[in-house]
């Protein structure tokens, strides 16, 4: 005869759940508003979701590290807070991209914004727990929402992208649960810290099974983080999705994935089990190099950016393999700075998006589209060039500082070879970023009317571009304070 379970409310510590609840509530709210009054303008929903996210962010900032809640499923440590901040900030920066001057199918649906908020909530769940179940749930919530958002773009390619992404995602989910099951079977727990304890207690007994389990998890996360060879979806999905969403995908899901990877791999990396480190090393090198090389031969800027962001993910992943506090801080710094630049770059593509395929049957943004841009739209050309240089890691633009910290971490932990590989990869990557600059500055224009690059450019979008330009160019001034905050958060969460 079981006695009834009595749970005191404060032991639940619902505060830890609050951020996600806000997001979800906001999403529901939007749907309800739509029920009450049909076809309201998208700008309303955009601003609503920004506000929701703002509140969300406020609550997140209010949390203090080191709490657990809701049957100890929720874990609010520094990383959780930090990553949520990044996720929310990025979402707030990207959602206004919906305010294009041209009408796009998806934004006419309020569901779009609801789904967007659900997705954010999903990501927040992912990062705010060390329970494999909740990670899974969060991950799937986010992914399912994302599939839909992609599909909502309502072009043939979008559906194709969505389906591909969906099927592969399903397989990845299978891998994930399989991995989780193996770990569960091995340790009798699905909480990472417990798993860690049990493994250490048993001094990593029967490694093979453990490795197999981790193999599945790596595969699953590798899919999310677009690690080679699980990256194949990335270019297609980026190409299929709208530039705005592609930019979003290049930042937010990855940061969530990084956090999960951090939680799952960190203890193993610090142990004397070299397997994980070596495997990650190989994966990382592959992920940095292969997409880099493939990006060389791309003909579409967006697709090129997709490959490049895969390569950047490889860079960041290196930090997780290195695994020191400084390295993890460097990861967050790198990704934030990368966010600034990528936001700008994708927005530049987004404002020049046309409904009809004007330059190329398949591509929206072939290189030829930008040829001679300096002649017809100097400002745009210069801005785009800035973002490209930043991505190429030319100082003093934002990404350079991220690279600097990452490489220095690699050096400091005696991964000199890795640092050199990073250097060489940056050199290679310079080529395809340069290619766009060459087209913009050194080729003669095909068009004569600069406005074609501004078709979508509404005031908000221009604001966002301006913002990201400032952030990109003057990043150096922000590095120090950002680094302080990041390191503080990372320290308390003991990574």
């Amino acid at each position: 005869m079981l006695e009834p379970i009595s749970v005191s409310l404060e032991s639940l510590n619902l505060g830890t759940l609050a951020p996600m609840l806000v997001a979800i509530g906001g999403g529901l709210g939007i749907l309800i508003i739509d029920l009450i009054k049909r076809d309201l303008d998208k700008s309303l929903y955009v601003m609503l979701s920004v506000l929701v996210l703002f509140v969300d962010l406020g609550i997140v900032l209010g949390l203090q590290a080191g709490e657990r809640g809701f049957f100890d499923i929720m874990l609010i440590d520094g990383v959780a807070i930090l990553s949520q901040i990044v996720i929310l900030a990025a979402s707030m920066l990207f959602i206004p991209l919906a305010l294009t001057s041209k009408r796009f199918h998806e934004f006419s649906y309020p569901e779009f914004f609801a789904l967007f908020l659900f997705m954010v909530a999903g990501f927040q769940f992912m990062v705010a727990t060390d329970n494999l179940i909740l990670i899974f749930v969060g991950l799937e919530t986010a992914s399912l929402a994302l599939y839909t958002l992609i599909a909502l773009h309502n072009r043939e390619k979008s559906f194709e992208a969505a389906v591909k992404y969906f099927i592969m995602g399903a397989l990845a989910a299978g891998f994930y649960v399989m991995g989780a099951m193996i770990l569960y079977a091995l340790t009798g727990s699905v909480e990472i810290y417990k798993i860690e304890e049990v493994l250490i207690a048993g001094d990593y007994a029967n490694l093979t099974i453990l490795f197999v389990g981790f193999a599945f998890l790596i595969a699953a996360l590798g899919f999310k983080l677009s690690m080679v060879p699980f990256h194949t979806w990335t270019p297609d999905v980026y190409e299929g999705a709208s530039a705005a969403l592609a930019g979003y995908m290049s930042i937010v899901p990855k940061i969530a994935g990084f956090v999960v990877a951090m939680r799952i791999f960190e203890f193993m990396i610090h142990s004397d089990v070299i397997w994980l480190r070596d495997v990650l090393y190989v994966v990382i090198v592959l992920t940095m190099t292969l997409p880099n090389i493939m990006a060389l031969v791309q003909r579409d800027v967006k697709r090129m950016l997709a490959f490049s962001s895969v390569s950047h993910a490889g860079f960041a992943m290196a930090a997780i393999m290195i695994g020191t506090t400084a390295a993890n801080s460097a990861l967050f710094l790198y990704w934030t700075l990368f966010l600034f630049t990528n936001l700008g770059a994708f927005t530049m593509l987004w404002i020049s998006r046309h409904k009809e395929s004007r330059w190329h049957i398949r591509y929206d943004h072939p290189y030829e589209k930008f040829s001679g841009m300096i002649q017809i739209m100097p400002v745009g050309a210069v801005l785009m060039a800035l973002f490209m240089l930043s991505l190429a890691g030319v100082p003093p633009f934002s990404v350079f500082w991220g690279k600097l910290y990452l490489m220095s971490e690699a050096v400091n932990n005696d991964y000199i070879i890795l640092a050199l590989i990073m250097a060489i990869n940056s050199a290679i990557s310079a080529y395809y970023y340069l290619k766009l600059i060459v087209y913009m500055f050194l080729k003669s224009p095909e068009e004569n009317d600069g406005t074609i690059y501004m078709k979508n450019a509404s005031r908000p979008l221009q604001t966002i571009i301006g913002l990201s330009v400032i952030l990109t160019v003057f990043a150096v001034l922000g590095v120090e304070p950002m680094m302080d905050v990041i390191t503080a958060y990372i320290k308390v969460s003991g990574f």
Binding site: A151, F166, A170, M181, Y184
Partner: protein, 100 residues
């Protein structure tokens, strides 16, 4: 007497079936089903392990998996219907517009 290992073997077999399905089939619907099998294979495993350890976490996980699987089906079917509407086929090879 059926022990844990039997269950695990069963789940492993189911998982492999799922995998094979994913790799062999050319029809999106079949792929969808295969992923379902994949997920449910692990359900068996989770249930058995949680029985073995005598704690409920595994079963909880199983339930969540079921839930997620369901929603996946929802989304997946939706996508496929749209695709079928547009292309009149669910053959994988029908979608290769993006490559290189």
């Amino acid at each position: 007497m059926i022990t844990l290992s039997h269950y695990l073997i069963l789940s492993a077999i189911l998982f492999c079936i799922g995998l094979v399905g994913i790799y062999r089939r050319k029809n999106l619907l079949m792929l969808l089903f295969s992923t379902e099998i994949l997920l449910n294979a692990t359900n068996v495993g989770f249930a058995a392990i949680s029985k073995f350890y005598g704690d409920l976490t595994g079963q909880m996980f199983a339930f969540f998996i079921v839930a997620v699987a369901a929603s996946e089906v929802a989304v997946g079917l939706g996508l496929m219907i749209v695709w079928y509407k547009r292309r009149g086929t669910l053959d994988i090879d029908s979608m290769q517009s993006m490559h290189g």
